[in-house]
């Protein structure tokens, strides 16, 4: 049958380039392999030409794949499943790129693209190491290319192509029996609402650059084992490991920033399996980078360096498996869904795991080691301990994250325990203490041997400073996190000390140890940043307070129970609600046509009158197929804290708008009067002046009047309402009260006639539904310390890369 209106050329081009990239990467792998093993110069040269040519073809195909898919998505060619599934016409241009990484195919493509970029840098800079390193990288390109071909190989489907047509994927749907079916497929399914955030445009590319770059230290290690040059590779590997550590760390924390700004698990980190899976390779890679430094300066730890670099890359592959196989379905909120490629994903791991460890064990005997024990007063000793702790901490995280995988393998039925976050926090706080302390003191030790007097003389002042700062934080910081008992609280204080110590000691080291030579201070700056990250995490998490704490409907026994999840509060439009330090009012909502978000204006007014600001949390309609809405938080940033809020429930706004047109009816009443409303009556019992009871805490200096009203419904239910009229700094304020069960709002407007005792009462009855939102509000103190820390860490990484490249260039000249 001929179909009308289809654009088949882009798809055919896509398929062609997918296959070209598969072939080209295979040729490049083979050719680089040949270059490595051939000794004869001329032959080597011709193979090098072939290898580079093949890699060029590979690069061109990967870019062509990108362009083709972008063309399909941006032109809304919904005959292609990828465009139909991941985009829609109304999507803003800046999010068209996000459609790429919503699907697995696009993110594989992104990974592949970064390999190409890294590959050309290696071809340009790696000299003798080009051939073996590029063999590994080209082979990785080949395995990634298999993920995208989507062809059948002896009846087994290999990969999943992003260029398949909708009609071929759903061939049994009757719509495709009509040649003009495209006239009915008017729009795509749209991008997942959570991904419609600017972080989602930049976080995945950075994260994937981080993932992709872990292959370089791995490939250098492989090259070292393969060519038996166990020493040579360790030098160029360091800046690459630093690059990878910096970018991967940045990518992960951009994800945290995205979570903080657009997800609603109330924070930046939730120990979600997907987060863990990306953190663990970073930890192991950083461990490897440190053992690599140890080896360069002291000759120790070469074997550990090999193992760490290999494992870091393996963990990237494993995290790919975890997030893409669908195995996390029951434990993670944001893993990819199963594409039916699990066998291929397992093979993807094994094809690297088996050869690399085989090679390592075969060559293990020849790897140079030093028999003599490390000196305890040496930098290498403590750096090694730190690397070990990082590695084991990563090990604990990944094993506990892998529970669903064990279930699959062992056919068991385990589920994560009651409080996985608590488990991770309780374990990792001790890791933070050890790593913090080691980060602080290790720089003051010299490689090989340090005289005790030197160490203590240099380290004394920073140590005293850190102790003083910690004591100040302990006394005035008001950290009283008591959910997990006193032991955990002590651990938090120790953690704060270790983190502060790391910051102070490393900052001081730039002057004490290096006489202020900033150029060489990359490591110190990265460590200061890392220390700040720890400080920020510890303080913002342990001092996070719930502003929207709600005790409605709780049994008196449970009130004050800090574990209770009663963190949602309902705000009725126009009615100030008490929320800790603030009176909070939901004022209005507006729809932004461009980004299709509905913004809710939530006014926060501090009770002490010092602050008055609006927050605009929003909701975005979900893409087709799943109705409902996705909320996004909003936060007000102060230098020392964030006020953070997001909607957790809302009634259908359109329905409410149609109904809620009622206004306040004004009545003049005196004490003892009875008023009727549609569903019953109310009695004004008395006027309280500056009451001081369970609900109100006025002092005799205040000017506040409270009406005590009993509301009795026709059914005989009794309710109490207490609207307030008060004068604050010369201005009159009215605080209405509501009887929600009766959809009744009462407002004490003014004293009409003091002598007759006439008071003006506003009565508002809504017709069944009130316009309201339910939200959570938090206060995050010192979260900026965390963000600043991350920026400093990344700057530090790049300074040390620049410094090392400089040194290497200078060595070559002399």
């Amino acid at each position: 049958m001929e179909f009308v209106g289809e654009h088949l050329l882009p798809g055919q081009l896509g398929h062609f380039f997918a296959i070209l990239s598969l072939v080209a990467s295979l040729v490049a792998t083979f050719a680089f392999f040949k270059v490595t093993n051939i000794k004869e110069i001329n032959e080597k040269k011709s193979w090098t030409r072939l290898a580079r040519g093949a890699f060029l073809a590979e690069t061109i195909s990967v870019i062509a794949l990108f362009v083709t898919l972008y063309y399909i998505i941006s032109n809304h060619l919904f005959e292609y499943k990828y465009a139909w599934q991941h985009s829609s016409r109304s999507l803003q241009v800046e999010y068209l790129l996000s459609c790429f990484w919503e699907g697995q195919e696009g993110s594989f493509m992104l990974w592949s693209f970064w390999h190409c970029v890294l590959g050309w840098i290696l071809i340009w800079r790696a000299k003798n190491w080009e051939a073996p390193v590029m063999t590994v990288l080209s082979f990785a390109q080949f395995t990634l290319a298999t993920m995208l071909v989507g062809i059948y190989f002896f009846n087994v489907k290999v990969g999943s192509s992003p260029f398949v047509l909708l009609r071929n994927e759903m061939d049994n749907a009757p719509i495709f029996s009509q040649p003009n079916y495209l006239e009915f497929v008017k729009d795509g399914n749209g991008l997942n609402a959570l991904l419609q955030n600017y972080w989602m445009v930049i976080h995945p590319p950075i994260l994937f650059l981080g993932f992709a770059s872990t292959i370089v230290p791995f490939a250098y290690a492989m090259a070292g084992l393969w060519t038996r040059d166990h020493n040579g590779w360790t030098k160029p590997a360091i800046p690459w490991a630093a690059f990878s550590g910096g970018i991967l760390g940045l990518g992960i924390m951009m994800g945290a920033a995205w979570a903080y700004e657009s997800l609603t698990f109330g924070g930046y980190w939730a120990w979600d399996p997907v987060e863990n899976a990306s953190l663990v390779p970073w930890m192991v890679l950083v461990a490897g980078m440190h053992t690599n430094l140890i080896y360069r300066s002291s000759g120790y730890s070469l074997k550990s360096t090999y193992v760490f670099y290999i494992l870091a890359f393996m963990l990237v592959l494993y995290s790919t498996f975890l997030t893409r196989s669908g195995v996390l379905g029951d434990t993670s909120v944001h893993a990819f869904t199963d594409l039916g490629m699990n066998v291929q994903l397992v093979l993807f791991m094994l094809v690297f795991l088996v050869p690399s460890f085989t090679l390592f064990f075969v060559r293990s005997k020849e790897i140079p080691t030093i028999k003599r024990e490390e000196n305890t007063y040496s930098r290498e000793f403590w750096m090694f301990i730190g690397s070990l702790v990082l590695f084991l901490s990563a090990f604990v995280i990944i094993v506990s994250t892998s529970l669903p995988v064990f279930n699959k393998i062992l056919k068991t039925n385990w589920a994560v325990g009651e409080d996985p976050e608590g488990f991770h926090n309780q374990v990792q706080i001790f890791v933070a203490i050890i790593i913090g302390l080691l980060t602080a003191v290790t720089q003051y030790l010299k490689y090989k041997d340090t005289s005790k007097s030197y160490f203590w003389r240099k380290a004394l002042i920073p140590t005293i400073m850190a102790v003083v700062l910690t004591v100040i934080i302990a006394i005035w910081g008001n950290i009283s996190y008591d959910k997990k008992g006193i032991g955990f609280l002590i651990a938090i204080h120790l953690g704060v000390f270790a983190a502060v110590y790391a910051v102070v000691a490393n900052a001081a080291y730039i002057w004490v140890g290096m006489n202020g030579k900033l150029k060489a201070a990359g490591a110190s700056i990265a460590h200061v940043g890392f220390g700040l990250v720890l400080v920020g995490i510890l303080i913002s998490s342990s001092k996070k307070t719930v502003l929207s704490h709600n005790t409605t409907g709780m049994s008196p026994l449970k009130v004050g129970d800090k574990e209770s999840p009663l963190e949602n509060i309902t705000l009725i439009k126009g009615i100030p609600t008490d929320m800790g330090k603030y009176m909070v009012t939901f004022r209005k909502d507006t729809l932004n046509e461009r980004d299709r978000k509905r913004y809710y204006e939530i006014n926060f007014r501090a009770k002490d009158g010092k602050e008055n600001f609006n927050l605009y949390p929003d909701i975005i309609e979900n893409n087709k197929g799943s109705e409902g809405v996705t909320p996004n938080p909003d936060a007000r940033h102060y230098w020392h804290k964030d006020i953070f809020t997001y909607l957790t429930f809302l009634a259908n706004p359109e329905k409410i708008r149609a109904q809620d047109t009622t206004t306040f009816r004004l009545k003049n009443v005196a004490v003892g009067d009875t008023l009727f409303y549609t569903n019953g009556l109310m009695i004004l019992n008395e006027v309280l002046v500056n009451p001081n009871n369970d609900k109100f805490k006025f002092s005799p200096q205040d000017t506040a009047l409270v009406l005590d009203i009993s509301v009795i419904s026709k059914e005989g239910n009794r309710f109490k309402a207490q609207p307030v009229l008060q004068i604050v700094d010369g201005a009159v304020q009215v605080l209405p009260d509501t009887v929600m069960a009766q959809s009744l709002v009462l407002q004490f407007n003014q004293v009409k006639d003091q002598e007759k005792g006439l008071l003006e009462l506003g009565v508002k009855e809504t017709s069944g539904v009130l316009d309201f939102v339910t939200l959570k509000a938090y206060e995050f103190p010192f979260i900026n310390v965390l963000w600043i820390g991350i920026i400093l860490t990344v700057i530090g990484f790049f300074m040390s890369i620049a410094h090392r490249l400089n040194l290497m260039a200078r060595e070559k000249k002399s």
Partner: protein
């Protein structure tokens, strides 16, 4: 033995101890009957929501949601969840309810939705939509 080796062994021992304690906290996926057999124990209950059994009044108390959960064997239990109603819970075909049986009801800490929007079912839903578009 070298100092590093001793420290290595100690640290490995600690990590294993930590993992054992993690496995000690591990719980199981349960049906209504098996969850009722161990009241007070934290479990993951796999069930779906009975139609029209949901009670949620955010105006009155946004932190109270209750409904009847039915598992694949047809047994049911009342569920109380002290939080807001997750979007789309009515549409979800499968719920993972994390919590424990307390008295006559299931005190739920956390709900994980397996929505029709998740990929595979999504394609089915989409098919329906395409079918209706062509009619």
């Amino acid at each position: 033995m070298k100092k590093t080796h001793i420290i290595l062994l100690v640290l490995i021992a600690v990590s294993i101890a930590v993992l054992i304690s993690f496995m000690g906290d591990v719980t199981t996926y349960d049906t209504v009957t098996s969850a009722k057999e161990k009241p007070g124990k934290f479990v993951h209950l796999i069930a779906r929501m009975e139609q029209n059994s949901m009670q949620y009044d955010p105006l009155n108390n946004p932190n109270y949601l209750s409904f009847t959960a039915v598992d694949s064997l047809g047994n049911s239990i009342k569920v109380v969840y002290n939080n807001t109603k997750p979007t789309d819970i009515e549409k979800s075909e499968r719920l993972v309810l994390k919590g424990k049986v307390e008295g006559d009801h299931f005190e739920c800490r956390d709900i994980l939705l397996k929505c029709p929007s998740k990929y595979k079912d999504d394609m089915n839903a989409a098919k329906k939509e395409l079918v209706s578009a062509s009619e």
